[in-house]
């Protein structure tokens, strides 16, 4: 049990990145339209986030510096303020969507309109940030979020033709009817979701919150190597369920309830109950991750005291900022905007934030002043450089693809 709790930070970080409300729906959309032909993107994304999250965790453990401090320090105020603006918008839009997601999941259970749940969901998120210890927060959200393993269970219960699924996942086996640009739009969206910048902001700041030192380097690696592959696997399971049930029926996914359809078919009420619990925990976890990330990034950029390990009064501006973000989120949702569409727009901001986040991490991970003997090896640097090229390509392609495809319509 202690082993599992030791990697809770990695699991929560990955759930927030791979299985937030927008990604759950995107994965089901992809499965229902492309089968598993985009599975390779998830694999590429998982390896990429592992490489860079490991670096950010190592820098945080050895030097005590969280990622946004490095961004400002190495890129200077101009580039850092650009990244801050883009990252902050991603955080704000995702936290808005996640609060809506918690409310949507509660609507599935209660049949009470999600709009009525929104203020309560936001209040619950705030109370956790205000009062609950960081370790308790990550353990509860991470463990209960594991209920989403129900999607993998559902895939097995559906007893699909595994050979056929495997053929879909092979390169070149594309599903004819969709346009090439749409295929690549979803490829970039999945890659962007896997590598969302708030994952490294949250992971490195979480390492500082937990007071990691050089002794915790193994733990950092374990967090990364368990958390992110698990997140990737579950997002593939969601796509797989949709590919098996929805693709042959030509059912297009537009809402959370359709994501649940294959689960209901496979496992009935019990599995549905489990999955809904998992969705509430995962969306709430993602809401916590993005709200805290909003606070972490601005506090680290401006040098404010931050962190849940301090009494709120000793990190006053940090807490005030998060309260304002949550209020803005409630206000946005109350206009009746579709929470899931909010996350789709945030892809645009990833285009700016991705390269400007991962480049400084790589630079500092090679700086002996920070890491002493724990600097990157040649192999890791080689992989990281390849990934920087992929990230740049995805960043450049994101906005044109969004416009050409009308957000994948």
């Amino acid at each position: 049990m202690k082993r599992i709790l030791g990697v809770a930070l990695g699991i929560l970080t990955a759930i927030g990145g791979f299985l937030d409300i927008g990604d759950m729906v995107t994965n089901a959309v992809v499965g229902s339209r492309f089968g598993l032909s985009l599975a390779w993107v998830v694999v590429v994304g998982v390896i990429g986030i592992c490489v860079f999250a490991q670096m950010s965790g190592r820098v945080a453990a050895v030097s005590g510096r969280a990622t946004f401090e490095l961004i400002r320090e190495r890129l200077g105020p101009r580039a850092a303020v650009l990244n801050l603006g883009a990252s902050f918008m991603i955080n704000l839009m995702t936290l808005t969507a996640e609060i809506g997601g918690v409310a949507l999941a509660l609507q599935l259970v209660s049949s009470v309109s999600y709009l009525l749940w929104v203020p309560f969901a936001a209040l619950a998120v705030w109370l956790v940030i205000w009062r609950v210890k960081f370790s308790v927060m990550e353990n509860v959200a991470g463990l209960v979020g594991l209920c989403l393993i129900g999607f993998a269970v559902a895939l097995f219960l559906l007893n699909p033709d595994w050979g056929e699924l495997g053929r879909q996942a092979l390169p070149g086996a594309s599903t004819s009817t969709e346009k090439v640009s749409t295929y690549w739009f979803y490829a970039v969206a999945l890659f962007g979701a896997a590598m969302t910048p708030y994952e490294v902001f949250f992971f490195s700041s979480g390492a500082v919150e937990e007071g990691w030192t050089t002794k915790d380097l193994t733990r950092s690696r374990a967090n990364v190597l368990v958390g992110f592959p698990l997140g990737g696997l579950l997002s593939l399971a969601i796509a797989g369920c949709a590919a098996v049930v929805l693709l042959p029926q030509l059912i297009s996914v537009t809402a959370l309830s359709q994501v649940m359809l294959p689960v209901a078919l496979a496992g009935g009420k019990m599995l549905i109950a489990l999955i809904i619990l998992g969705i509430v925990a995962a969306t709430a976890g993602a809401a916590l991750e993005t709200t805290l990330s909003a606070g972490y990034t601005i506090a680290q950029f401006l040098g404010w005291p931050w962190g849940k390990f301090r009494p709120p009064a000793q990190a006053a501006r940090f807490h005030l900022l998060m309260i304002i973000c949550l209020i803005v989120g409630i206000g946005t949702l109350m206009t009746g905007v579709d929470p899931i569409q909010v996350t789709e727009i945030s892809v645009v901001f990833s285009a700016v934030a991705l390269p400007l986040t991962y480049l400084p991490i790589l630079i500092v991970a090679n700086d002996p002043e920070y890491l002493g003997e724990h600097v990157n090896g040649h192999a890791l640097n080689g992989i990281a450089l390849i990934y920087l090229v992929i990230i740049l390509a995805a960043a450049l392609a994101a906005i044109p693809l969004l416009i050409i495809t009308g957000a994948g319509q």
Binding site: S63, G64, R65, E69, R72, E73, G76, P77, R78, A80, V81, W130, R131, K133, F134, E209, E210, G211, T213, A299, Q300, F301, L302, G303, W304, P305, W306, K308, F309, R310, P311, P312, A313, Q314, A316, R317, H319, L320, E369, Y370
Partner: protein, 145 residues
Amino acid sequence: MTGGRDGQAARWLDAQLHLLDRQVLDVHGVPMAVVDDLELSDVPVGQRIPVDAPPPVITALLSGPVLATRIFGGRPPDSRMQRTPWTAVVEVGVVIKLAVDQDTRDVAWTERWVRDHIIGRIPGGRHIPEREPNDHPENDERGGS
């Protein structure tokens, strides 16, 4: 410029790399600000500098509104410069450590204002997170207010 105290071998400090945009911690190890800009001793602008004039030295770390003018250009009025005298600096490493308490410095006035007027007044705002044996190392140095 060269740094190094106590007769240690002089170490090169790159102002851009080692000073600007570094996190500043106060005497308790609490983040206070970031070095938004540096103030140098008087350099006459537009005049011929005599050969034997002393080289300019860093007199203060600047924070606050000066960040905006560093990005967009210009200069904030003198009354809005939040200076931390260089004499308060005790260590330049991956962070810059000071020998002063931020509660005595102007640069942290917004933090104090928000603490005293908003966050400190919400129930639980001054609650110290529960400690565990291996709890956060920074909490040991400090304790609550």
